[in-house]
């Protein structure tokens, strides 16, 4: 049967870009469908009736939602260029760190940039702690996945690219080279990686879109 792979996403969303990186790593051809979140398509609502969110991957008519679930599905379906490690313990660690990024880091990083006053101060403090944790976890490795990008690197796309754009927009100096030299080195490798650099949105357009949608963040 000919493979039919479709991805419903949003150009400025780190979550749908994660899935695109995974598909590119595997060399999977797919049709990309851009969603307008203010006017969600009937297809999106049909394929993800529970959450009504992107990204959604549809493989031969079967939909899958939730970006990390989609990435593991991609890894299990197209087995070359593995995204997760081989050994069960290493796989458990990769899943742990990907979950840490999603559950602990993303919201506080977002609030560090966009919230105000005491809430923002608290978010910045918490975000700094989490970035320190990731800095220690990365250590001297080129990527979280070792010599090659893996699940954790893909999960950390917000830190790899969006955070820099948000920092430029807001003047926030949270992730800096003097505070997080290893993460900054990782970012440099990350944005130049072949599977990633073509999958990132143009930075100026991203900054413009975020500025328009969320307004001016306090500096």
């Amino acid at each position: 049967m000919a493979e039919e792979v479709k991805l419903f996403g949003v150009w400025a969303s780190p979550l749908s870009r994660r899935v695109e990186i995974a598909l590119k790593m595997k060399g999977v051809k797919y049709e990309y469908i851009e969603e307008d979140l203010s006017n969600k398509s009937q297809l999106l609502l049909k394929y993800n009736p529970v959450h009504k969110k992107i990204p959604v991957l549809v493989h031969n008519g079967k939909p899958i939602a939730e970006s990390l679930v989609i990435i593991e599905y991609i890894d299990e379906t197209w087995k070359h260029n593995p995204i997760l490690p081989q050994h069960p313990y290493d796989r458990a660690l990769a899943r742990f760190w990907a979950k840490f990024i999603d559950e602990k880091c993303l919201t506080v990083l977002w609030n560090s940039i966009w919230s105000k006053g005491k809430e923002r101060e608290a978010a910045i403090e918490e975000a700094s702690e989490h970035l320190k944790t990731l800095e220690n976890e990365l250590g001297d490795k080129k990527f979280f996945g070792g010599e090659e990008i893996g699940l954790v690197d893909i999960a950390a796309i917000f830190i790899g690219f969006w955070l820099g754009a948000c920092q430029e927009l807001s003047g926030l100096e949270l992730l800096t080279e003097d505070k997080f030299p290893k993460l900054c080195k990782w970012i440099h490798e990350y944005v130049n990686h072949t599977a990633i650099k073509e999958n990132l949105p143009p930075k100026d357009k991203l900054i413009e879109a975020m500025s328009a949608r969320f307004g001016a963040a306090s500096k």
Partner: protein
Amino acid sequence: MAKSEAVKVVGAWSSPFAMRPLIALKIKSVEYECLEEEIGCKSKFLLKSNPIHKKIPVLIHGDKLVCESLIIVEYIDEVWSSAPSILPSDPYDRAIAKFWAAFVDDKFYPSMKESNTGVGEEAKKAGLEKMVDGLALLEDAYVKCSKGKPFFGGNQLGYLDIALGCFLGWLRVTEKSLQTKLLDEAKTPGLVNWAESFCAHPAVKDVMPQTDQLIEVSKTVAKLRAASAPPK
């Protein structure tokens, strides 16, 4: 990796999350030792074993530490890889099981917490409504996943059964305290039968706490919470 290395689980008998690895280990007939944490008091050992989240459960397998209950369940399935399998073998079925397990943790469990410990009647009512909506979705998922068999995993207890089933004790506590029926023959007939099969399963029946015991725990936790609340 030596499967025969000693297995310990840092947990608590009343914790639904800590129940998950125990069920998985029992399915695989792996012997383990329970290291029981006290309610409201995290041991130094736990804080050292899980410094990031400081939470149970933690699986200790030889010198390896694995945290996060569903990650532990998957680890157990991958290390002790012979039958019975906990996750489905087909990648699409695995993705569906993981999608619903994420729904249980991210949506269903928080709504259950809100219905029990939400501040004020409005918050509790909102939590309860979300639980009812969640159970309707899960009933639908059960019908689709089980395909007429007793469990989400089919004939065998699987990943999604474990993910949701561990909350049955606390679900019954919620029913008693809010004087309502959540698993109901009329609205969720599939889940009613499933719950019975789940609780009777040999891998579950020794680790599922009694509802009355959990009600006592909820009173203890409420007292601890009130005692540690900042003065107004």
